[in-house]
């Protein structure tokens, strides 16, 4: 790994994922190179079917690459066994999904404490942490609600709290606002801004420009490969009015 990656929290080299054979070969991810530094928020944008979700799954160890390497905190994870991957996921990576994927029969606080329980924490510690996190996302008063009693935006915020349960190195979010309306999206974006401000490394896959606009770096993806990268932070300053073209 190059020295530039020395502080990189999440890195990929020549990452590939293929399905099928011969004529039916589909390259979902085709030679991706990536370095994400601590505290960065990176957005991957692209049309549907471009392989961004697959990329996220590969980065989080939910799927095995066909070729190339993925490393988290300097350690390669693509050659780990299932058990080691599971343990890695507990402490290093937090997932947020488009479909929320909360357990329907557990209350909000029970959902949030689950990763901690799976990591072997005592029930009391896990419960306390879960309640803290719910407060952070502004849902402390809904701790005992079932997901069916929560709105889409609230469910996603519970999911984000859950992802933070074990203080992960990286939070990976797959279309986090895909199922949300405009107001709920704003709530989630606020949350992401706060996470970013607290130094959390965040990788977001999205096709919503508003979500991508919150990132420091935006990468365009097409047909499994990166085609463009934009630095957004430290961007245009100056009069907002000019920016939004109010003077004509």
């Amino acid at each position: 790994m190059s020295t530039a990656a020395a502080t990189s929290v999440l890195g990929a080299r020549g990452l590939r994922k293929e399905y099928g054979k011969g004529e039916g070969l589909v390259r979902a991810v085709d030679g991706v190179e990536l370095d994400i530094g601590a505290g960065e928020t990176v957005a991957v944008m692209g049309p549907s079917g471009c392989g961004k979700s697959t990329l996220l799954h590969l980065l989080g160890g939910l799927d095995r690459p066909s070729g190339g390497a993925v490393s988290l905190n300097g350690r390669r994870i693509d050659d780990l066994g299932e058990k080691a991957l599971a343990r890695m996921r507990r402490t290093t990576v937090g997932f947020v999904f488009q479909a929320f994927h909360l357990m329907e029969e557990l209350t909000a606080v029970e959902n949030v404490e689950l990763p901690a329980l799976l990591a072997g924490r005592s029930p009391r510690t896990a419960r306390r942490r879960a309640q803290e996190l719910l407060e952070q996302v502004g849902l402390a008063d809904r701790a005992r609600f079932l997901p069916s009693a929560l709105s889409g935006g609230q469910r996603q915020r519970v999911a984000i709290a859950r992802a933070l349960s074990n203080q992960p190195l990286v939070v990976l979010a797959d279309e986090p606002t895909g199922n949300l309306d405009s107001a709920a999206t704003l709530d989630v974006l606020r949350l992401f801004e706060r996470l970013h401000a607290s130094g959390q490394t965040l990788v977001i896959v999205t096709h919503d420009a508003r979500v991508a606009a919150t990132s420091d770096r935006m990468i365009s993806m097409r047909d499994g490969a990166f085609v463009d990268e934009t630095r957004l932070s430290g961007g245009t300053s100056g009069q907002l009015g000019a920016l939004v073209g109010l003077e004509e």
Binding site: S182, L186, V244
Partner: protein, 175 residues
Amino acid sequence: MQQEVVLAMLAKEPSHGYQLRARLRGALGPLGDAMNAGQVYVTLTRLERAGLVAVERSADGAERSDRKVYALTPNGQQRVAEWIAEVRWPRPDLPEFHLKLIAAAAAGLADPLTIVNTQRRELLRRLRAAQRAAMAEPEGSEAVLLLEGIVLRLQADLRWLEACEQSWTHRRSGS
């Protein structure tokens, strides 16, 4: 009709006025039906006066506008190059951007994809600024509504730019 559009149309090769009109109508489709027939000629005359366009000797030396052959002057070429590189985004003028891409491709002035991506970057930065401003506003502020409106329209524009990028990628790989 933006002057720069007509200028860019001439970048590929000198043309008659009616040829220009035909190309514009072809590119604009149904939107072109609203175009006034004489507008192209008015713009050409203005451009001629500004020194950006010159009339070439026509074969039979006719004086009628529709038989003249117009060509870019060096000033005109420079103006076109500047326009291509511009990232102004006034109240969304979709036809202008659309024609910019077509002209650039036809005349080989620049890669349409680069134009699209550059514009996207700019819009993204604006979106980010507007969004942050909206989130920074205190609760109940009136400005939030306006900022949200700006954010949403920028989002829509960005979606269109994505579509442009897809379309032009296909055109390139197809041709």
